[in-house]
């Protein structure tokens, strides 16, 4: 309390305050009336207009997602379909006591704390009258249990939503691929309107490459809603366009035989119909359960797949690049004949090793004792390395590169799914450009037996084999044969023309003797064959731990074993199928890889005479 105040002054202050208060009251009244005026304008003058707008707000546009196209194999068996997945859903507005209801539901079905947490999070975001999933993927007995008790749970119901399902998940995991939830990055590339109602998108294989065809086109529905937001009447309806069904050239039975024939080995197989380019089997083993991805894979399962030393997620058929080894020999033989470096009759003495002129380094043959006098036929049948060292030395690397390019080595085959690798076909120019090093003559020799820098994918090998089988013509590998009922045919590959057509026969004869000759490296698969097979075995040295595996003592021995390769086609006279088999750490092409090819031929050639 002020004690030394000037009474007169205080009186004056009081007076001043009162007058200012009155001004303030007038000012506030003005503000008050301006608000009233504004409200009157909005609620009387423009009431009609805003009422109409509010009415329009009641009309809701909702999205109807299209049904994803199915994928069939060449014989009409389903490889990818949409199965209803049952989820337990709850409409918050219609449930009185949500926690209690969940407790009661837990007595019937297993509902984890995590699921409840996800539900609560959704509930905060969604409108109270929208259905929210409490549990996904109910099995049939759970559906039955709930259905019997449904009357006890108003506002809770079971909803069926389509979920991608792969009946042969391991067999088709790489070639058909899988769908998964749309991620941030994909969100930026897709048409947001068309994907309005879609939750999944193709991630790999056919599912990814043919996403546009499979996805279909979104539909719309305009509904008139009640004041509570429930739709009472459909005003307009634009039906969605289902995705196209795809038919693949893959024969799932053949695929299974190939997959199973690999046994416990990791490996990859490509089988192409030489007459059409149809890919009948494309195997990468191990596969994985693609359905895990389609359901939404959890982190633990995903890292288990990612960290597995067998690398199941790696698509060996398209992206596995292996040294082709001796499977290059028939093609190099053709090169030698075509460039007239060698003739069919000319022989080379094989003492078990080869030396470059004026060099002491010995390039060894796989057979220490040597093959003795060897012509081209014998060099292919018995896979003589010395013959090919000499041939390579005389051809020189650039001619080898040019000739092998004709057969598609070092290039993508142009198969109709994404992700294919180039492989590697070395040349001087390549080494200068990518390694900035000169080419050494010794490297030419190593290339002569398909080692060194050479890398091929199984698809490349199968395609080159088809070119050889057809004596210079082939088709680009094609997976999808039909989009709905529309047939698709494969493009022809660039034909290979040799100076003399009989060169083909010389090499093909030799390849036939690889299988049917008394000393052929794959003679064991000739027994009981109903048709003639031409093939070539190969062995590829493993480059240590190059592919990024972790050092694992127990598996080391296994890991350092050579890869076994085999390329073949049959029947020799009228070829139908060309195959490339690569068995990782399988050691011997003749004993491990060749029987797999035989099993595939047996199935395919019997069925289609």
């Amino acid at each position: 309390m002020k004690t030394r105040f000037d009474l007169k002054n205080s009186q004056q202050e009081n007076q001043l305050f009162l007058s200012r208060s009155i001004i303030l009251i007038i000012f506030v009244s003005l503000l008050f009336f301006s608000l009233i005026t504004r409200l009157t304008y909005l609620q009387i003058q423009t009431h009609e207009e805003y009422s109409d707008l509010a009415q329009n707000n009641r009309v809701k546009l909702s999205v109807i997602s299209p049904v994803r196209g199915l994928i069939f194999d060449s014989k009409g068996r389903v490889l990818a379909e949409n199965n209803p997945s049952y989820s337990l859903e709850l409409i918050p507005e219609q449930v009185k006591d949500i926690p209690k209801t969940i407790k009661r539901l837990q007595q019937l079905l297993s509902i984890s704390e995590k699921e409840i947490m996800l539900f609560e999070r959704q509930r905060k975001r969604q409108k109270r009258f929208t259905s929210i999933a409490l549990r996904n993927r109910l099995n049939e007995s759970e559906v039955a249990i709930f259905s019997a008790n449904r009357h006890l749970f108003p506002g809770v119901d079971i909803q069926a939503r389509p979920l991608r399902y792969y009946p042969y998940p391991e067999l088709t995991s790489h070639v058909v691929g899988y769908v998964g939830a749309i991620n941030e990055k994909e969100l930026k590339t897709i048409d947001p309107i068309n994907y309005r109602g879609s939750r999944f998108i193709g991630k790999t294989g056919v599912e990814k490459t043919y996403e546009t065809e499979l996805h279909g086109h979104v539909g719309y529905q305009q509904t008139e809603n009640t004041a509570q937001g429930r739709s009472i009447k459909v005003l307009t309806h634009t039906a969605p366009l289902s995705g196209h069904n795809l038919t693949l050239n893959i024969d799932i039975e053949l695929q299974k035989i190939a997959y199973d024939a690999l046994g416990n080995f990791n490996g990859t197989i490509a089988a192409i119909d030489t007459r059409t380019g149809a890919v009948r089997a494309l195997v990468s083993k191990p596969g994985f359960n693609a359905n895990l991805f389609a359901r939404g894979i959890d982190q633990t399962s995903y890292s288990a797949l990612q960290n597995s030393t067998r690398r199941p997620l790696f698509n060996r058929a398209l992206r596995g690049q292996y040294p082709p080894g001796s499977t290059m020999k028939p093609f190099l033989g053709l090169a030698g004949l075509n460039y007239s470096t060698i003739s069919a009759k000319q022989t080379v003495f094989c003492p078990g090793y080869y030396q470059l002129p004026k060099q002491s380094h010995k390039y060894r043959d796989w057979k220490k004792t040597g093959h003795g006098h060897t012509n081209l036929h014998k060099a292919i049948v018995q896979s003589c390395d010395v013959y090919y060292y000499k041939l390579a030395h005389e051809l020189k690397i650039d001619r080898m590169h040019d000739f092998l390019s004709l057969f598609g080595f070092g290039q993508k085959t142009g198969i109709d799914i994404n992700g294919e690798k180039h492989g590697l076909l070395p040349s001087r120019a390549w080494k200068k450009r990518y390694r900035n090093q000169v080419w050494y003559p010794g490297e030419t020799l190593i290339s002569g037996i398909g080692q060194g820098f050479n890398l091929s994918t199984p698809l490349q090998l199968a395609h080159a084999t088809a070119l050889l089988a057809n004596k210079g013509t082939a088709f680009k590998p094609l997976l999808v044969s039909k989009v709905d009922q529309q047939q698709r045919t494969s493009e022809a590959s660039t034909p290979v023309k040799l100076n003399k057509p009989e060169y083909w026969d010389i090499v093909i004869n030799a390849m036939q003797d690889v299988v049917s000759g008394a000393r052929g490296t794959a003679r064991r698969i000739n027994k009981g064959a109903a048709f003639k097979i031409a093939g070539k075995t190969g062995t590829a040295q493993v480059f240590g731990i190059k592919q990024g595996e972790k050092y694992d003592e127990e598996n080391t021995v296994e890991h350092l074993k050579d890869h076994a390769l085999f390329i073949a086609f049959a029947p020799v006279k009228k070829p139908q199928l060309a195959i490339a088999v690569i068995v990782e750490n399988g050691s011997h092409g003749g004993s491990v890889a060749a029987p797999i090819a035989r099993a595939i031929f047996d199935q395919y050639i019997q069925v289609q005479p």
Binding site: Q12, S21, V28, L39, L42, S51, A227
Partner: protein, 379 residues
């Protein structure tokens, strides 16, 4: 019970004007009744705007309870004590603001909260009261109307918290704090010449500000406010939807719980800043005028209390609190009806949300204290 009020015996040369129970409890019944009615309306409309979410209502009711208790506690503190603490509260508030600026929690890109471990606290709330108290404390000791020098000092007291809070950035609160300080200056009798000079300066500076200092996005905000239809899915969406809700309500409204705009969730922030739109949609023009009238009545009662106050500090503070309360309402309703830009000020005592409600009711506690601690000199 007289031992509870020793002051009564101590200051025996004063006697209380009234000595009913309410007087002893320092409650102003008129103000209390109006505030309770307003809170009850708030809860009612929140039932509709919050889509019947019981936990939301419970939280709001709890906060209201706490806020009313805070108000009644505040009413027990006599004004001269408040005056004594005014500069210290202001200093504390400014220090806390600086603290927030340098180590506050970042929430939604704005630094407003100070985490004290056991609870989070917005220093700007403290300054809503401390700023007018500070200015009133300063001017109450001077000869009024204030000299130019005193006005300048007071302006600095207003500018410090305003700038600090605008920097957070919390433009809505900054405006309210500036208003509360300016109201004190105005009531203290600042000369009209200065008022007009400042107004003229602002008017002439605005185009310069627009041309040279405002960034593109700030200009965009102003443009959106002037023409919301141009940006219907961005910043204009709130205003458009809010106008649809209010306009479609008409004279009589659609009835409680029947406002389709808010119920169908076309209207964003329907239970917080835009709750007035829900009210106007459901209760129409009649309801809206009634609601605004309650605010006006509260203002009139408050300004009456200010006029009845016995010392300059109480008078200036009470006047400022009354005015700021109405400005609160005006900014919110102005923004919801589209005559002011969207700055994020809640509808006092009705919008869902805690801190500002407690501050507001503490302000009314101060008003009650001013009114019920008056003494008459015994003649």
């Amino acid at each position: 019970m007289s031992w509870l009020f020793p002051s009564k015996q101590h200051l025996s040369h004063y006697h209380h004007r009234k000595s009913g129970l309410l007087q002893r409890l320092h409650i102003d019944l008129t103000l209390l009744a109006l505030l309770v009615i307003l809170s009850a309306i708030g809860i009612t409309i929140l039932m509709s705007a919050g889509h019947g979410d019981m936990s939301l209502l419970q939280r709001q009711a709890t906060r209201l309870g706490v806020a009313f208790i805070a108000m009644l506690v505040m009413a027990q503190v006599p004004p001269h004590i408040l005056k004594m603490f005014a500069p210290w509260l202001f200093l504390l508030g400014v220090l806390l603001l600086l603290g927030v600026l340098f180590m506050g929690d970042m929430g939604k890109g704005a630094q407003r909260w100070l985490n004290l471990g056991f609870f989070r606290f917005q220093p700007s709330e403290l300054l809503k009261l401390a700023t007018p108290m500070m200015v009133a404390w300063y001017l109450a000791e001077r000869r009024l109307p204030p000299s130019f020098k005193h006005i300048s000092v007071a302006t600095i007291f207003i500018a410090i918290p305003t700038i600090l809070i605008a920097k957070q950035p919390d433009l809505g609160t900054a405006i309210l704090i500036a208003c509360s300080g300016i109201a004190v200056l105005f009531l203290a009798g600042i000369s009209w010449r200065i008022i007009f000079a400042v107004a003229a300066a602002c008017a002439s500076l605005a185009p310069l500000l627009w041309a040279f200092f405002m960034k593109a996005y700030q200009k965009q905000r102003v443009l959106t406010f002037l023409n919301p239809e141009e940006d219907p899915l961005g910043a204009g969406y709130h205003i458009i939807q809010s106008k649809i809700a209010i306009g479609s309500g008409g004279i009589n409204g659609k009835g409680w719980m029947h406002g389709s705009q808010a119920r169908l969730e076309f209207l964003p922030e329907s239970s917080t800043d835009f709750i007035f739109a829900v009210f106007a949609e459901e209760f129409g023009l009649i309801g809206a005028i009634a609601l605004l009238s309650i605010y006006l009545l509260i203002f009139i009662r408050s300004i009456y209390i200010a006029a009845q106050a016995q010392d300059t500090f109480s008078r200036l503070l009470a006047g400022s609190l009354s005015f700021t309360f109405f400005i609160y309402l005006f900014v919110n309703v102005g923004m919801v009806t589209g005559i002011l830009p969207v700055v994020g000020v809640p509808l006092p005592l009705v919008s869902y949300g805690g801190t500002s409600m407690v501050t507001l009711l503490i302000g009314f506690g101060i008003l009650m204290s001013i009114h019920t601690h008056r003494k008459l000199l015994s003649s």
